[in-house]
């Protein structure tokens, strides 16, 4: 059942931190504050903490399943449901990761179009981005991980820049705490899911980890750091915007940068958005890599052949999304699917795995 990956293609356990965090942290961070505040208002920071706790639990469940079968997602499904059903699930996951790639790239292109160049053609820019992505994946999983590393380390300074909003921050906005009902806060948590989504890619790259037991703490640390960053941003945002103004801004994170004025650069968002390219590039790479990896596992087709094909599919899909409404619909859909997948399906899958394990043991025993 276990898949053998050559030692020289595996990654060190601590690098899991970067892959997991990178996958969670991408395009959602630019606009999550508005979406979570829709229901929970200024209490939405509680929703973030709740989601953070939830993600830790799901992550624990993922590790538990992976340890049980010592393989990846396909092995789990084969173990529980058998070969044919696992293929169907596999195809679903291929689509899911393709959709994730499309969302990331299309949203990023949209931001460039709205904030910087109105006349930028979606097709050409996506083509360039996707070619880079394909090039990265050709380097193998280790290169993808390397990109994830740089995608976190290089643009990390941007977080300090949000402190420029402090002179305008009104932390009173957060009071009174728990002014919204529990169900509103839980709805906020649900809306938060697109932002923290992506850690489930662990299910696919697990066999690539050297000494996977040691990687556990790094994965949990990654999830924790994402929660903290979201919390930091959300609190600054809620202090900076009154609730009604927040609801008017599609990308509050970027709007906050509009207050920054430096003698040498008039509008900081331009630098910030350009930098964001570094943040989303590994994101798209990991998603597309996951997709092609599942294809390989299911149909034993070389990744070198599948990656360009999948990239072309993404390119076509990206070019067919024109308006804000369509992009919004797509990200909403991915968010929904991701939510049910992560917080409903995976815990159920864990239960199924444990039952299957018990049944199989009994069979061997008797």
């Amino acid at each position: 059942m276990s898949i053998s990956i050559p030692e020289n293609k595996k990654i060190s356990p601590f690098l899991v931190f970067f892959v997991v965090q990178k996958m969670q942290f991408g395009i959602g961070i630019l606009g999550f504050q508005r979406i979570i505040a829709k229901n929970a208002g200024h209490d939405a920071w509680i929703s973030i903490i709740l989601v953070g706790i939830g993600v830790h639990i799901v992550l624990w469940a993922l590790f538990k399943m992976l340890e049980t079968v010592n393989g990846d997602m396909i092995s789990i499904h084969t173990f529980v449901f058998g070969k044919i059903v696992s293929k169907i699930f596999g195809i679903f996951f291929i689509l899911y990761y393709l959709l994730l790639t499309v969302t990331v790239i299309r949203t990023y292109v949209e931001i460039i179009q709205v904030w910087m160049f109105t006349d930028l053609a979606t097709f050409w820019f996506s083509l360039v981005l996707l070619s880079v992505v394909v090039y990265i994946i050709f380097g193998g999983f280790r290169t993808v991980t390397g990109m994830a590393f740089f995608g976190i380390v290089l643009p990390f300074y941007v977080f300090a820049l949000f402190l420029f909003t402090l002179p305008y921050a009104e932390f009173n906005n957060l009071l009174p705490i728990l002014d919204h009902s529990i169900s509103d806060i839980l709805l906020g948590s649900k809306n938060m899911s697109l932002t923290v989504l992506g850690f489930e890619s662990l299910l696919i790259f697990y066999p690539f980890i050297k000494d996977p037991k040691k990687s556990k703490k790094w994965a949990h640390l990654a999830v924790f750091s994402t929660t903290m960053i979201c919390l930091y941003l959300a609190i600054l945002t809620f202090a900076y915007f009154p609730e009604n103004q927040l609801q008017k801004n599609i990308w509050p994170t970027l709007t906050m940068w509009k207050i920054i004025m430096m003698p040498f650069v008039e509008r900081f968002e331009y630098i910030g958005i350009a930098n964001w390219c570094l943040i989303i590039l590994p994101n798209a790479s990991i998603a597309l890599w996951c997709s092609s990896r599942i294809v390989k596992r299911l149909f034993s087709i070389k990744q070198r052949t599948t990656v360009p094909i999948l990239a072309i599919i993404c390119l076509i899909a990206t070019s067919f999304l024109f308006t804000r409404k369509q992009v919004n619909l797509l990200s909403d859909m991915v968010g929904q699917v991701g939510f049910y997948l992560n917080f409903i399906y995976f815990p159920l899958l864990l239960v199924a795995t444990l039952i299957a394990k018990k049944v199989k043991k009994n069979e061997v025993g008797s």
């Binding site: 709205v114 904030w115 910087m116 160049f117 109105t118 006349d119 930028l120 053609a121 050409w124 820019f125 360039v128 002179p167 305008y168 009104e170 009173n172 906005n173 009071l175 009174p176 002014d179 900076y240 915007f241 009154p242 609730e243 009604n244 103004q245 008017k248 709007t255 509009k258 207050i259 004025m261 008039e266 509008r267 968002e269």
Partner: protein
């Protein structure tokens, strides 16, 4: 693939991508630095843009273009008809509204455009013009261009004098905040080379409903800004002193729920800049402190009375009450709850230094 091939492909991609977006060369665009709006009769608005023309070894020449329009957003397009180069909003510093326009039509529709435009920063200054915006913009102030002059004038008054913090973000913040109404500074053209900051305008539903004079600005700032500074003259029986407040803080406290009562504690730390009496003795300082305390109390209470009468809340008392009360309903704040609110101002003045002369 050979390295040469790779290089050829990469270079050709670079050339291909070059033509992807519109270029904007600084010499071939009109960078608007300020824009002003005037009332132009029933439903019409006229807009004036100000852009500098840079010349070697000379101060920038201030150029203005004006157009009238019915739909406010189309003003820029109409101005475009007179302009040889495309108009770009990227480095705008100030937006001015004529008082007539701001009181009759309101400013909300106009401000929406700036809030929407990703190229416009949130640090943009908004101001009401006592008189005509166009006239003010056609003057010639300072060597760095009119727009820079206006924004420096406001910035200086915020940093060192009595003007409360204000810009586009501050305006939007108080506009969107429930239980708070916005305000803007008011400018007036005195002569062709001079502008004066001559008060603060308060808005309700986007329209100016009340203006206070510069003397009251000091007290308004004490109420609205967490940290403030400024200069104020205090009169005692022995003489007059100019007291510069170095660091003033305020603290709100919801001291009573029904009926609502807010206690505002104001702490002023100041130095004596000027004194017309004979000597600044400790007992004189005591007297000054007392006089100043009395004046802050009296003036602030007066301001609150004005707010109540005009049904505005630029300080944000309503928002404050909401943050201290669970499930507070602000929908009738300005009409009824604000009227029943008691605001108790408790100032505490401390004069620490009296300059280098004893």
């Amino acid at each position: 693939m050979k390295l040469v091939h790779k290089i050829i492909i990469l270079t050709s991609i670079a050339f291909l991508l070059n033509g992807c977006v519109k270029k904007e060369i600084l010499d071939d665009i009109n960078l608007i630095e300020a824009i002003g709006f005037d009332y132009a009769g029933e439903g019409m608005t006229s807009g004036t843009i100000l852009y500098p023309i840079y010349q070697p070894d000379q101060p920038p020449e201030n150029k203005t273009l004006t157009a009238k329009a019915l739909i406010k957003k189309s003003i820029l397009q109409d101005i475009q008809l007179q302009s040889a180069n495309p108009i770009v909003t990227g480095s705008m510093e100030a937006v001015l509204f004529a008082k007539e326009l701001a009181s009759k039509d309101g400013v909300l529709e106009l401000i929406d455009a700036f809030q929407r435009d990703p190229g416009v920063g949130s640090g943009l200054y908004l101001a009401v013009v006592d008189g005509e915006a166009r006239e003010l913009m056609e003057g010639n102030y300072g060597v760095r261009g009119n727009a820079t002059f206006i924004s420096n004038l406001l910035e200086n008054n915020i940093d060192n004098e009595d003007l409360p913090k204000t810009n586009l973000q501050k305006f939007l913040f108080s506009y969107y905040q429930e239980g708070q109404t916005p305000f803007m500074p008011q400018l007036k053209k005195i002569s062709d080379e001079k502008i004066e900051l001559n008060g603060i305008c308060f808005f309700k539903h986007g329209k100016v409903v009340e203006t206070i004079n510069p003397d009251q600005m000091f007290f308004f700032r004490l109420l609205v800004d967490k940290y403030s500074n400024g200069l104020h003259r205090v009169q005692t029986k022995d003489g007059e002193a100019a007291i510069r407040s170095i660091r003033s803080t305020h603290n709100f406290d919801l001291s009573q729920h029904s009926p609502l009562e807010i206690t505002v504690k104001i702490k002023v730390q100041g130095i004596v800049n000027e004194y017309t009496g004979n000597e600044v003795r400790p007992d004189q300082i005591k007297l000054l402190e007392k006089a100043f305390t009395e004046e802050i109390k009296e003036q602030s209470t007066k301001l609150v009375e004005i707010f109540k009468e005009k049904q505005i809340d630029p300080v944000g008392f309503g928002h404050f009450v909401k943050t201290r009360t669970r499930n507070y309903d602000l929908s009738k704040w300005l009409e009824s709850d604000l009227q029943n609110l008691t605001v108790k101002v408790v100032p505490h003045v401390m004069i620490t230094e009296a300059g280098v002369i004893e």
